[in-house]
Amino acid sequence: MTGRQIRPRLAVWKFASCDGCQLSLLDCEDEILGLAEAVEIAYFPEATRAEISGHYDISLVEGSITTAHDAVRIHEVRRRSTKLIVIGACATSGGIQALRNFADVTEYARIVYARPDYIETLSTSTPIADHVRVDFELRGCPINKRQLVETLGAFIAGRRPATPAHSVCVECKLKGVTCVMVARGAPCLGPVTHAGCGALCPSYNRGCYGCFGPKETPNAPALSARLSELGMDQRALARLYSTFNANADAFRQESERHDQQDGQG
């Protein structure tokens, strides 16, 4: 706790993504200038041309690995970073573009592009941790900006970021939101979803759709059993788990289970 002599150097990197997570940094209108004093923003192409090469103390990495080039580039980023923090569903689980992992990517290219032969892409979208060692994962599609500030603050101060891995349900209760699943029968992924958003969807009268990915020790089969009592069919269940964190283990397995059951019956 002796005053900070040297400002840590921060870099922000982008892989396959929508840019929303790094935009969260610019959305911290009240904190961004303070942050720029606390750290040296050494590489952040979305915000500045300035580029200081060399080594970075903290790298924020957004996006998933979908091209051969990126699969090489991420190793370079790792080499140049002391702490590597991955931000957002793309970087932590592969993002929505990981839906390709369950389909034929050449077929996908044909649907979207007139000249699929121009498209160079891998057949999978994979999280950063599948390629290099990751020091911290910040969840969400997009990440929550309060959690982003907390994570940066925590890394600067040397503490563990307060980004609990429990369910969204806990946030509902802390906030005083009446459960939409119990009180209205609305299908909700909150009980298996990682907290962080502040129980956003339930506070807007809708069930959580899982954009923060699986919580610690998720029990998706038990939730699915309840959701089918509430009227969801196999196909709907297969889709429910197959969105922005489709490639996260617990969600992928549960989605595939219902996909197969749908195929059988």
């Binding site: 840019d19 961004i32 952040f44 929505i96 996908y108 121009y118 969807c201």
Partner: protein, 430 residues
């Protein structure tokens, strides 16, 4: 003949990744190619088979900078299939949500991305060291846009409150009124922004663009209106495909749009919107625009920074109007029955026309989706700008020339992730 290639790894201050290749032969710019390296994410492909209800949440993820635009085009296109129309209050709330996104997106571009080019800084944070108050004003103004998005949408990025037929939860009047004070401040700040941008120095570069934008009977366009141009085009969204086409060029993961018949480039976005709809701006916005030195039509892409400021002022003004006249609707949405069919919609994203088309199966599953974002529509224009504008600067050093090119591209506020990141800038001097 000497041959020289200059490479830039990343074109900064654009959202997304791409590169640029400029070929110079005998002192003339032969070609400029905007290469989009944004890894493909295949949204149109995996939308197939999803339920229509999931669309607003999924398409938002195409772009973190303008998710509301994607949500709006999607819900309007789907409602076009179902034949529902929204109550005036729900319709007004959608305008309000869009105001939030315009403010947030435009102000980000004006202060943090574009102004540094005029004032000679690497970025907004660097600019803040010398122009602290200015940048703080920008951040504060941007925050007001985000406050609208947060209140109405749940969060700034990928709002969770938009559904086909309306909203999951509509705000109480008193909740909306909490925005009023900051919006009033924002109106002054936006006005100051228009004045200040008017004092910047602009290169004297104009081009005779074909402007394409929505035009509505009464309003400055957000969600509704016919697609019009300054060359006589006047069509409904359903006819978009008849008049425009997308082509796929090598080296790029984004598609280029052009007129189907002539193959000509066209321009969408603030310049087009403004030039085609000046008369629909609020009186305050019109006055401010003229006072800042704009004409009713603006053909200088560098001046887009003023136009964005004018549109920001309009959006603030409009947001205040919506809030003041808001009455809580009985229901937060209009129920819809899935049916087979095809629907179309174009709305005005901050960066320009955003076209969506969906074909649905009878159970509400998506059979086909087509999405044409503004940046791919503008791509041809950006290349033409480069060919025309940088001709006079060929004597500059590669570094200076590269900076010029970047600026020209940044005029468009290209939201590359929806189309595209500039990974490389090649200047090939042959």
């Amino acid at each position: 003949m000497t041959s020289k290639t200059v490479k830039v790894d990343v074109l900064a201050r654009v959202e997304g990744e791409g590169g640029l290749k400029v070929t110079i032969r005998d002192g003339l710019v032969r070609s400029a190619e905007l290469n989009i390296f944004e890894p493909p994410r295949f949204f149109e492909a995996f939308l197939r088979g999803r339920n229509f209800n999931e669309t607003p949440d999924i398409v938002a993820r195409i772009c973190g900078i303008c998710p509301v635009a994607y949500q709006m085009s999607a819900v309007h296109a789907l409602e076009n299939i179902f034949g529902v129309s929204l109550s005036p209050q729900l319709r007004a709330l959608r305008r309000l949500l869009y105001c939030g996104e315009w403010i947030e997106s435009h102000v980000l571009h004006i202060y943090m991305l574009h102004a540094p080019d005029f004032l000679g800084y690497a970025g907004g944070v660097e600019m803040a060291r010398d122009h602290g108050d200015l940048v703080r004003q920008g951040l504060q103004l941007k925050k007001v846009g985000n406050e609208i998005l947060t209140l109405l949408g749940g969060r700034e990025i990928h709002p969770i409150n938009v559904r086909v037929g309306g909203f999951y939860r509509t705000p109480l009047k008193k909740e909306l009124l909490t925005l009023k004070e900051s919006l009033k401040w924002a109106r002054d700040a936006a006005l100051a922004t228009v004045r200040w941008t008017g004092t910047l120095e602009f290169p004297d570069r104009e081009r005779d663009y074909t402007f394409v934008a929505l035009r509505h009977e009464e309003e400055y366009p957000f969600n509704e209106g016919r697609i019009v141009s300054n060359r006589g085009l006047d069509i409904s969204a359903g006819d978009y495909d008849k008049y425009f086409e997308e082509i796929h060029v090598p080296q790029s993961t984004a598609l280029h749009s052009r007129f189907r018949d002539s193959g000509a480039a066209y321009l969408v976005g603030p310049l087009a919107r403004y030039s085609l709809n000046f008369d629909r701006l609020s009186a305050l916005a019109q006055e401010a625009a003229l006072a800042a030195g704009l004409d009713r039509i603006c053909r200088n892409p560098y001046c887009s920074i003023i136009v964005r400021a004018v549109e920001t002022l309009y959006a603030v003004d409009e947001a205040l109007r919506v809030i003041e006249t808001y009455e809580e609707p009985k229901s937060s949405f209009v129920p819809v029955e899935p049916r087979e069919g095809e629907g179309y919609a174009a709305t005005e994203a901050p960066r320009g026309l955003l076209y969506h088309r969906y074909r649905l199966e009878s159970d509400g599953a998506i059979a086909e989706a087509q999405i044409v974002p503004p940046t791919s529509q503008n791509q041809a224009s950006i290349e033409e700008d480069l060919v025309e504008f940088i001709g006079g600067f060929l004597d500059l050093s590669d570094e200076a020339l590269r900076y010029r090119c970047e600026q020209t591209v940044r005029n468009y506020d290209p939201c590359i992730s929806c189309a595209t990141h500039f990974l490389r800038l090649d200047i090939d001097r042959g």
